[in-house]
């Protein structure tokens, strides 16, 4: 419990609480002689309590005005989901539709637009996942670190509306995605969700580095391959064994060779892509431990509530006050008022 005040100087006025001990709002009625009246402990107690209540109300109002709050807290939670880094291809070809045609930046059927919509849906459906995002084309762009803030993730996905440029250069993207898990405690499944419509050659040295990192960080890989009609399926061995013509096949081979949980999905049309995303959703529902940040909470409301209840008590007492001699001497009982 970390308590703090936003305007502590307001508490300088706290001596005002003593007012309730000095103020005499109840008019003193003339009596003949108090010395013969018996001392009444209950009255003394009651009026002391009322004064304390008054002082308490003033103090509570001052505390409320000074803005008390609970500091930001982090809480360990256990949820279902994974840490998912979305590695989104932003190369020029993503602007085309599945038939391989370009219809302009605002086209609804472009691969990137469909991927964007489906990823948006996917993120909305997932509850406890962490999402990070990287868009890559020739070079990767660090868009957003791993976070549970869905609004931010959706905004990051939405920010891919600008037209994609460049070629699909996959190795630096993967490296950066793996980098996201560096120095993070292993609290659940880690997934890289690679969404691309093509691949590029990765040299051997880089391949071994990547493989090592995949193992070190225990990351799973899902590759959503947005295959248009001109490309070949991942499994079909190219007739010409040259990486330049079908890098996807070789990349697929490389991923399979790493020895990490790897799954490739070929999405040839929007429906297939939808299925792919559903399947990932089903797969990655393992327990995940994460720390949640709870924003600072204002406690002023509780102070006001307490103060109001105190004021109500005082008002109630005020109703019973006898304020004039006429009331004191002409009423035999309170109900005659």
């Amino acid at each position: 419990m970390d308590l703090a005040l936003s305007h502590p100087w307001v508490l300088l006025f706290s001596p005002l609480a003593l007012l309730s001990f000095f103020g005499k709002h109840l008019p003193a009625l003339r009596y003949s002689s108090l010395s013969i009246l018996p001392f009444d402990p209950l009255s003394f107690l009651l009026f002391t309590l009322l004064k304390l209540t008054g002082a308490g109300v003033i103090l509570l109002l001052l505390i409320a005005l000074s803005g008390p709050y609970l500091k930001e807290q982090t809480v360990q939670r256990l949820g279902q989901g994974a840490e998912i880094v979305i590695l989104l291809d932003r190369s020029a070809s993503m602007n085309e539709n599945f038939a391989g045609r370009y219809f302009g930046g605002a086209a609804k059927e472009s691969k990137i637009a469909i991927a964007r919509d489906l990823l948006g849906d996917f993120i909305k459906r997932r509850k406890d996942d962490f999402f990070g995002m990287i868009s890559f084309s020739t070079a990767p762009i660090h868009v957003m670190p791993l976070t549970q803030d869905k609004t931010a993730t959706l905004a990051a996905i939405d920010a891919t509306r600008s037209r994609g440029r460049g070629v699909t250069n996959i190795a630096p993207g993967l490296a950066m995605a793996l980098d996201y898990f560096q120095e993070r405690p292993l609290t659940g499944s880690r997934v890289i969700l690679l969404v691309s419509d093509g691949a590029a050659r990765i040299d051997l040295e880089t391949q071994s580095t990547l493989a090592q990192l995949f193992h070190q960080y225990k990351v799973m890989l899902y590759w959503v391959y947005l295959r248009d009609d001109r490309s070949l399926p991942l499994d079909s061995k190219p007739a010409n064994a040259n990486e330049t013509t079908s890098p996807e096949y070789f990349l697929h081979q490389f991923f399979q060779s790493i020895g990490i949980p790897y799954k490739a999905f070929e999405a040839q049309n929007p429906e297939a892509l939808q299925n792919v995303i559903d399947e990932i959703g089903r797969l990655e529902n393992k327990p995940i431990q994460y720390t949640e940040k709870i924003a600072r909470q204002s406690l002023a409301e509780y102070c006001y509530l307490l103060a109001i209840s105190g004021i109500l008590i005082l008002l109630f007492a005020r109703y019973f006050e006898i304020k004039s001699e006429r009331l004191l001497f002409e009423s035999n009982s309170f109900s005659n008022r």
Partner: protein, 277 residues
Amino acid sequence: MLEEFHYQLPWRTASAHPGRHAGKHSGGEHEFHGHAPLIARPEAHNIDIHASLLDPFGQFMVRTFRQRGLISVNIIADLSASMSFHGKMKTLARFTELTAYSAYRSGDHFGFFGCGQDLLPDFHLPPRWYKGGAAELVDRLGQFDPDDSHCRSLLSIAEHCPRHRSLIFLVSDFHFPLHETAEIFDSLLKHDVIPVVLWYPQEYRNLPEWGLVRLADPETGKDRQLLMRPTLKRKIIATFEDRQERLKHLFTRYGRQAFFLDDTFQADQLTHYFYEQ
């Protein structure tokens, strides 16, 4: 028409002034006292033939009488701040008016001593014969708002009182300590002092059953907050009744019962009071 009450006293006045009360001095021809030889009392018109014949020495006997004299009726009023409660001064004014008028009607002297911290000159009437009562004093009394913190001059009032035994109404709420009450009565032993206890039912019986109230003591200036409730009210009534018993007990030691005065008082009650003694 003003009410009046009649007072008769179980003692003889030493006053030489003629009046309607039994006196100590011989003289007059109303109250038979005894017989005396003519030689001792050369009053031939009072020769009692029957007594002379019966006298073994054959002397002429004369009847002797005692003269009737007047007394002085005094009110010693406690004018400390506690008497400012509610309408106590009004009741005191009315009581004074009745007493002054009754004294006037009986041909007696009336005196008034208002005692605050000191004897208050504005409320001091030396014992004289005031024709028609003391209307002016009564008016001032009714409007007076006493604020003296103590009625200390009561303790030394004896020096201002008449030399001869007189009738004194000591009007007070007797809210001061009992030993002071006893001291005052000790100093006034020579006189016939009737304690008049001026209590209002509002002080205890008519207090409200419920409520929060702040009561101020006009003498000390202190105040106390009370949660009025039936238990506390019963406690206060019991306190007052207990005090009443103690006062009665004390007054009996000095020979007179207390007369309890409140705002409903009638002159006839006083007449009855004197008959009952």
